[in-house]
């Protein structure tokens, strides 16, 4: 009998816990005040653990804006590192890790300014085809070897070698570095690649054609050097564990627990080690946004990304920030699949009928910006005046219901049709489905006689249909590969590998061609030609720009100097530090 009573007690306890949790959920708003108080208590508790070292830091550093407190940053990442091999890296996480632990010829600094890395400077030949980089002598690998020109030669050859199976190698180097494409196809020896180590500190690169943006390209992960010894020593296991690769960047990867997280430690042998203030960065894999927010609130991490449902909660938080990215989303109108889409007025009407403000503010709600052209905001600026590309060219095809109706009626007349049915091919994610419903609704209400059929498919299936051009209208997106308008505009030339919508304009083709050949060495003329080209593209309404993606996040106020990159790794921690005085 005694036993049963004891069990009864446990049962009651569990039950009451449960009820407490349930009722707590109901009164979430009412308990807000209490909640804040509790979280603050939590804060102090959390810091007590590190209190000792923090105190020391404060004592030593009296400056209020320099580094103070323990120089350790705790962050989250949405996925595990897929690879540490610069030739094989394809995704944001891998490039983030490589950007922190490796150093290429150059590195992107604040406002995407190119900063010296292993290269001190470089000379470009008269014909702009030969670039000679002068490397610094004091750079070393984490095994003590000096970083020399042949490390770059080795890495670049490896990236285009078909044996390696690199995706970014042929993509980034093909058509850029001499013979890269032919080598990748197996038509030429790997040794014929246009890169040569003249001596230990001189790297000579021969290009296929003048590439005005080559300097910023060398900051990209695929162009990082690789220590040949490491590849040979670790063989099949190269870059599969933290210790199976040598580093030459501001940090070294000291620990990597697959699926769980990893740790960067400051690299004392880095050539610019005195600039690096952070001693350690801990990354944890956190996939769930709500979990990230809970960890942030309990001071386990110093920053976390926010999804739309959390944006409203944090919008007025002083630590809330929105970072516009350069990823552009738009409609592709397939001119070969439906006669209506071969009509310019119809394409214009379709684009202008959509209220993009409503889209970014209500449906996306994460700080995304309305797109008004083929080049995103704050991506590239005029080489002389510094004015933003978007600002110079202005807004195209903005929302205008009346104009859209007018153009639509004109298009129907030209086509001799009253009823038109179009298919929208788009993604099947939750947000994607909301967007698709929104598009359908806007189109069908604003444009008379239009019926939209939604075809919502997984990403890979959408790509297949895109390649086969089996769609009418497609919701699509593009992230830039290098800091140059060409990365977006080159897509739409006649027969281009990513065109796949039957757009063809002689005027447009010749402008892009000119920008990449005749004006390749004249930055201003080139830039202006791109401006011209975008106008042609937009006047043809070849694509319907929708929005430019942004990411919302919260950062603890004591995290300073983290640079947000428009390209390659999302963040640069080389100049980052912790300032606990700022609290």
């Amino acid at each position: 009998m005694k036993q049963t009573k004891w069990l009864l007690l446990v049962l009651t306890l569990v039950l009451s816990m449960f009820l407490a949790a349930c009722s707590g959920g109901d009164s979430e708003n009412a308990g807000e005040g209490d909640g804040n108080g509790e979280t603050e208590n939590e804060n102090t508790e959390g810091e007590n653990n590190e209190g000792g070292s923090e105190g020391d830091g404060n004592g030593e550093e009296t400056k209020s804006d320099g580094p103070s407190g323990e120089q350790v940053l705790n962050l989250t990442e949405g996925a595990d590192i897929p690879t540490l091999d610069p030739s094989m890296a394809t995704d944001a996480v891998a490039f983030q890790v490589l950007g922190s632990t490796m150093e290429g010829l150059y590195r992107l600094g604040e406002k995407a300014q190119v900063k010296p890395g292993i290269a001190k400077d470089h000379e470009v030949s008269e014909d702009a085809l030969t670039w000679t980089f002068n490397l610094r002598e004091d750079a070393t690998w984490s095994n003590g070897d000096p970083v020399v020109a042949s490390d770059f030669v080795y890495a670049w050859k490896r990236a285009v070698d078909p044996e390696t199976g690199s995706e970014y190698g042929p993509y980034m180097m093909g058509g850029v570095i001499k013979n890269a494409t032919a080598i990748n196809k197996g038509e030429m020896e790997v040794d014929k690649l246009g890169v040569e180590a003249v001596d230990e500190t001189t790297l000579k690169v021969t290009l296929e054609k003048p590439i005005p943006y080559f300097e910023s390209l060398t900051a990209f992960g695929t162009f990082l050097p690789i220590n040949k010894k490491a590849v040979e020593e670790f063989g099949e296991d190269f870059a599969l564990e933290a210790g199976n690769i040598y580093y030459n960047g501001p940090f070294v990867l000291s620990e990597w627990n697959h699926g769980e997280g990893w740790t960067f430690k400051k690299n004392p042998d880095y050539w610019d080690a005195e600039t690096v203030k952070l001693e350690q960065i801990n990354f944890k894999v956190v996939k769930d946004v709500a979990t990230g927010v809970n960890l942030y609130e309990t001071d386990k991490v110093d920053a976390t990304g926010l999804s739309a449902e959390f944006v409203d909660e944090y919008r007025n938080d002083p630590n809330f920030e929105i970072n516009p990215q350069n990823v552009l989303f738009y409609f592709k109108y397939n001119q070969e699949h439906h006669e209506a889409l071969a009509n310019t007025n119809a394409r214009k009407a379709l684009t202008m009928a959509i209220d993009k403000k409503g889209l970014v503010n209500v449906i996306l709600n994460n700080g995304s910006l309305v797109a008004t052209g083929d080049i995103p905001q704050d991506f590239v600026s005029h080489p002389e005046t510094g004015e933003d590309f978007r600002e110079i060219n202005g807004d195209f095809l903005t929302h205008d219901k009346e104009k859209a109706k007018e153009l639509w009626n004109k298009a129907k007349e030209e086509l001799g049709k009253e009823e038109i049915t179009l298919e929208l091919l788009a993604g099947d994610s939750e947000t994607g489905k909301n967007m698709n419903a929104y598009f359908k609704n806007q189109w069908e209400t604003n444009l008379e006689g239009l019926t939209i059929e939604l075809k919502q498919v997984p990403f890979k299936e959408r790509l297949r249909l895109d390649t086969n051009m089996e769609y009418d209208i497609q919701f699509s997106g593009w992230g830039p590969d290098y800091l140059d308008p060409n990365t977006f505009l080159n897509m739409w030339v006649t027969g281009g590998g990513n065109n796949k919508m039957g757009y063809s304009s002689d005027e447009y083709d010749s402008l892009i061609e000119k920008a990449n050949t005749e004006y390749a060495t004249q930055p201003v003329k080139r830039f202006e030609t791109f401006l011209e080209a975008e106008k042609v593209l937009m006047n043809d309404a070849a694509i319907g720009p929708l929005y430019q993606r942004a990411s919302a996040s919260v950062w603890k106020p004591y995290v300073k100097g983290v640079i947000r990159n428009p390209m390659g790794p999302d963040f640069s921690f080389k100049w980052a530090y912790i300032n606990k005085n700022a609290e």
């Binding site: 069990l7 979280t39 508790e45 044996e163 990748n184 099949e236 599969l240 697959h258 996939k287 809970n294």
Partner: protein, 309 residues
């Protein structure tokens, strides 16, 4: 008995072969390829890369190659995780999932069984109603809602347990409880029903009449008989718990196997998909065998090998 087990093992082998064949061809129906930059690469570039992974061969050839490697115990290499061995990945990730699943299973069954027994003993009393209520909640509230509530109230508001991560026993408590809700509910309901039936049967009355004390009757006669139907559902439940729960793993940032599998499907990482499917399949048929053998242990009236005529 030995003959029976041998026979079952042969069947297991055939089943595995069928699973491997079906999942291989089904998997090949997935649209797209494992390439990450499919949208950017030209077809020619894609073909060059696929060559390295043998993806340009006709599917039947790939199938034969796969089986040949499998026969040597080689599950292949992951496409997405830079050629890391599939076996290694599965072992690395299975650890946390198995630990969590086992804890949830043990805790859930033990607690659920007790709950069911007491509900049956105190039939139509507040304890019975309370346990029914708990079981209904446990079954109807999805585990991720429960996990979210636990994380927010116990982790953030009260600060009693760590919010997430996988760094020690205290980190496993909340995910275990969240995962255990379902087994608790199922075990409690089953146990209550079976117990009521068993307690009302003649042999219990006989046992009581012979002077066996109440607890003795309960555990020696009641429990044993009531367990039989439960054993049937424990098998599938154990599989579901041990092979990782995507949602719970994501909410508590646990480096388990559930998420690995979903990611593999999303990115067409064929070797991982195959490896996971085969191992899950193997576990399944293995546990079914164990369950069948257990019947005999629990209730000697059940004969496994054909009758003794």
């Amino acid at each position: 008995m030995a003959r029976y087990i041998f026979q079952r093992i042969v069947y297991m082998f055939i089943t595995m072969l069928l699973i491997a064949t079906f999942s291989f061809f089904l998997m090949k129906l997935l649209p797209g390829s494992p390439l990450m930059m499919e949208d950017k690469l030209t077809e020619e570039q894609a073909v060059i890369i696929k060559e390295k992974y043998g993806l340009n061969d006709p599917v039947p050839v790939q199938y034969v190659n796969y089986l040949a490697n499998l026969a040597q115990g080689d599950l292949g290499i992951s496409f997405q995780q830079d050629n890391r061995g599939v076996t290694k990945i599965l072992i690395e990730r299975a650890g946390p999932s198995i630990q969590l699943g086992a804890q949830a299973l043990i805790f859930g069954l033990a607690f659920g069984l007790l709950l069911g027994i007491f509900a049956a003993l105190y039939h139509n009393s507040p304890i019975d109603y309370g346990s029914t209520f708990l079981a209904v909640i446990g079954k109807s509230i999805p585990s991720f809602v429960f996990a979210g509530l636990l994380q927010y109230y116990i982790g953030v508001k009260l600060g009693w347990l760590p919010v997430a991560f996988w760094e020690g026993f205290e980190y496993t408590i909340m995910p275990t409880i969240a995962l255990a809700m379902f087994p608790i509910a199922i075990a409690a309901r089953f146990m209550r029903t079976e117990m009521l039936e068993v307690l009302g049967s003649d042999f219990i009355t006989t046992a009581r009449a012979k002077g066996v004390n109440r607890l003795g009757v309960l555990f020696k006669h009641g429990l044993r008989n009531a367990l039989i139907p439960l054993v049937t559902i424990i098998g599938p439940m154990a599989i579901a718990l041990l092979t990782g729960n995507l949602v719970i793993e994501n909410i508590f940032a646990i480096p388990g196997i559930g998420d690995t599998f979903v990611q593999a499907v999303m990115t067409n990482d064929f070797p991982i998909i195959m490896g996971f499917t085969l191992i899950t399949g193997f576990l399944f048929i293995f546990i079914i065998l164990i369950v069948d053998l257990l019947y005999g242990v629990i209730d000697p009236r059940i004969r496994l090998a054909g009758g003794e005529k």
